[in-house]
């Protein structure tokens, strides 16, 4: 029985409420939504993956050329657990280290990829290292989800990038406030994006801690074999 009040709020001619759907109908609705969503996502993933992979490979290639000035070809090195070496991998790890060659086949330097957590997500970068000068000679950001307009200045701000044109690796790469750089191993941070700038500094230092010695040993081996006579920069 409806009370007077209930009757007064129900406009005349309102259709009766449809019966409550059973649990099977609810499960079916959500199941179908999930199924079609999965279908769309998998199709999207399968269709876009080759293009995304190609974009990444091209970005990496362009970045190696960018961080090693004059580089015409490069090769990824293999890490067998003790030393770096050239050639195809025979079950050993592929190192995040690329050796770059100039026009005459001379070794120009090494490009190293490294990553560190930034403000939003992992920042992945590649940088050029010249073992003869013991300096970083260029840096490019490969992946970053830093705040647009702020943290993204790590790859958009030309002034920040000049930090990495001749950055000494020893004693340690450190970040300093903008305008306070006094030593060749210091990186001037971006005002308003200190966390992102420090993350870049850390990833460089991390890469150098890990790969400086193996690269130097690799260069000595090359010299021993007499294949890198032209490595010494003029």
């Amino acid at each position: 029985m409806m009370t007077e009040d209930q009757r007064s709020i129900t406009p005349p001619g309102t259709p009766e409420m449809p019966p409550e759907p059973g649990p099977a109908r609810l499960i079916l609705t959500l199941g179908l939504a999930g199924f079609f969503s999965g279908l769309l996502l998998v199709s999207g993933f399968v269709l876009t993956r080759p293009v995304i992979e190609r974009n990444k490979a091209e970005a990496l290639k362009a970045a190696v050329y960018q961080v090693l000035e004059g580089c015409v070809t490069f090769e990824q090195l293999i890490w067998d657990g003790q030393v770096l070496r050239q050639g195809a991998s025979e079950g050993e790890d592929i190192a995040p280290v690329y050796i770059g060659f100039g026009k005459e086949g001379q070794v120009l330097g090494f490009a190293i990829t490294s990553e560190e957590p930034g403000f939003q997500d992992i920042i992945k970068a590649i940088y050029g290292y010249d073992p003869a000068l013991d300096q970083i000679i260029g840096m490019e950001i490969l992946e970053s989800k830093e705040t647009p307009g702020l943290g993204d200045k790590i790859f958009k701000d030309a002034r920040f990038k000049t930090n990495f044109e001749a950055l000494a690796v020893l004693p340690e790469i450190v970040s300093v406030k903008f305008g306070e750089k006094a030593n060749p191993h210091e990186v001037e941070a971006i005002t308003g994006a200190t966390i992102s700038s420090k993350a870049v500094t850390r990833l460089l230092q991390k890469g150098m801690t890990e790969w400086r010695e193996p690269i130097r040993s690799f260069v000595l081996t090359l010299k021993g074999e007499g294949t890198s006579g032209s490595h010494e920069k003029s």
């Binding site: 759907p21 974009n55 647009p148």
Partner: protein
Amino acid sequence: MGKDQHTDWDVLIKGLWRENPVFVAVLGMCPTLAVTNTAINSLAMAAATFFVLFFSSLLVSLLRKVIAKQVRITTYIVIIATFVSLVDMLLAALVPDIHKELGAFIALIVVNCLILGRQEAFAAKNKVGAALMDAIGMGLGFAIALLMIGVVREILGNGSLFDIPIFGTSFEPWIIMILPPGGFFTLGFLLLLFNAVALRRTKANAVTS
């Protein structure tokens, strides 16, 4: 037929001004404040949101009689999240530079309450044509608002517009405008302006009627 078209047109127009998602409904504040520090970022975010809003509205409206009321919000979220993931993959494949620019904010479109709000308030109750008009109107209204904020912030905070420098080297950029407080300042100022205009129009209409 003619009347229906007229109504659909009204549905589209209301998103641009009368019910603008940013300046009137104050929805979608996360991207509004976070990615509007340059005009290009504003446009790219608006385009990605438009894509998600358009296709979510299409699907929700088409399936409005099939989706049980009790699980509608979950279903809408699944639909919206699907399109957000698709737009993320499409941007990464087709325009990797813009994808890199927008960073984490593409994934965050999924929690933009403008999109879920339009599904619940409009698409779930209306025919496909009207739902799409609503999505277009709201999408464009959102784009206009983001672009207005982005233009002001980029000009003052960076001295440029669409990455083209517009002031000489003597101009000292107002860094704060591209920092988070700049987003709040600009939004507050534009809200004030928008409300002042709306109030004036209401008063003018009251006098004439």
